[in-house]
Amino acid sequence: MSLLTSLAVGILFAAGIYQILRRNVIRAAIGLVLLSNAVNLFLFSAGAYNGAAAAYSTATSQISDPLPQALVLTAIVISMGGFAFVLSLLYVISTRYKTSDSDEVKGLKN
């Protein structure tokens, strides 16, 4: 299971970095989502494997660490807000510059 999670984190990171470096702004935004999911999975796996029972249970077996789950929850909400903001910026950019190629969005260069 830990091998599977580490592979998943690695693949998500690779895909996210590949996408974020592309010229199409939509693909780059999807890259951002992939990257934040990769980092969420990484955070989640920080506390996933040392427990056999839920944190709230009264069982005598070792309970799992609930903190990383709380962190991931916060991080998911923040990245959701960030993604919505990026999409709204992209909407304005695509109507204003009439392109989805980030090389064409170069008003600041002058």
């Binding site: 974020i20 780059a28 951002l32 990257l35 934040s36 980092v39 969420n40 990484f42 955070l43 920080a46 506390g47 903190l67 990383p68 962190l71 916060t74 991080a75 923040i78 807000g81 960030g82 903001f85 990026v86 910026l89 992209l90 304005v92 950019i93 204003r96 969005v105 008003g107 600041l108």
Partner: protein, 494 residues
Amino acid sequence: MNTAYLLVPLLLPLMGVPITLFMRKQRRMQSVTALMLMLISLGFSFGLLRTVQTTLEPVQFQLGLWQAPFGITLAADLLSVFMLIMTQLVLCAGLIYALGSTEKVVQYPTFYPLFLALSGGLSGAFITGDIFNLFVFAEIIVISGAALTAIADDKYGVEAAYKYFYISTLASVFFLMGVGSLYVAYGTLNYADLADRIAVNPAAPLGLTGMAFLTATFLIKGAVFPFHFWQPDFHAAAPTAVSAMLSSLVVKMGVYGFFRMTTLLFATEADMLKTLLVVLGVVGVLYGGFGALGTHNAKRMLAYSTLAQIGFILVGIGWGTPLSLAAALVFTFNHAIIKAAMLMLAGAMASRAAVKSASFDVIVGVGKYHPFAGFLFLLGGMALAGIPPLNGFVSKLMIFWSGVEAAQYLSLAIIGVASIVTLVYIIRAFTRVWFESNPEVKPKQGDQLLAPTLLILLALLLGVWSEPLVSIAQATAAWILEPGAYIAAIMGGG
């Protein structure tokens, strides 16, 4: 000391966000409420400073009343209070500027709520004692700063906001990776607990990885040389009242991160980091100085100058002696005041030009009808270059003095030579705007000059009577070099 009083300077701006949002129909009331809230929280910050100075231990509050390593700790020690007061002073000036601004953006119903969110994020970032909570406040700063730039009058505002948000989201990914790595290695997120555990076992697996990720994060947040490329675009396109805050305060979050990393979190093995900071600082001073020489836009020139000034601060942190840390703190404070005033003056001149732009081709000769603004600009420029009666002189003197004391002659010589460049670009900007004649210039109403006047007066005051600031900075440097006291105060529960 354990008290809920600490929450006031953080909660006032944050509560102001919904309150001012409800007042979106009454523009005047909305702006005055925002300013009043910031002034009250500034007053409370001064109260905090007094408490911390008399008790000599951090004021802290455990959210949810869970004891230190388990809950989220808010803790204001001398360093936090120092940064908090700097932040709120300049934010108040920014709001005063926005009140008298002719830009369309300040009429926007969400301008003041977003501005207060930026204030709340900055205040929170400086008083939190939990590394994940720092991430949350950093996100608040990023989103509100990017939104404020996206609604700017400048038609390239959206593009600049997009660029900045992209880079900052990458920084957030690094930040979360760093937090995750540190949590895996040491099992805690509280600064004090983390510092304690790192000192016991510096070589835990993933510990150094976490340090590397955090370093990259703060380098991006502080716009330090290899990660600086977004900064001039972003700061030049933002509305004047906001760009003054971005260039003077938001980059200071990275600086604050390095203060904490070198003296508290990774104090036992900070040498590697300090060497890196000195090298990057020197490169930043050179790069920022020459970059500012090559620009054709007053706001852009000042944004490049921020790169150079952050370089000076990082060199001071990198040398790491008590005197150089105090110098870096004084430099941080003075730079915030000067840079905010200079950007406001550049923006005020741009608002009086025929076309609204801070490009030198447009604002050439605009100063003809505004000699007082020219006088202020000259004073601010002298402060930036470090010429005697102003506060910039005190900060540069302290940096150079601490360099001599630490016997760091090579880096000292380079930044000494590079700081002369400041004088060149300031004088050039001054002559272009106030001495060259331009037949197309007509008298025109623009942004009011009250806020930059107040800031320049403060700069003059801190230059003539710098003793209080310097002594607080020295006490702060002495305090942060003894991380044991901080750890004991937080872990003891106060």
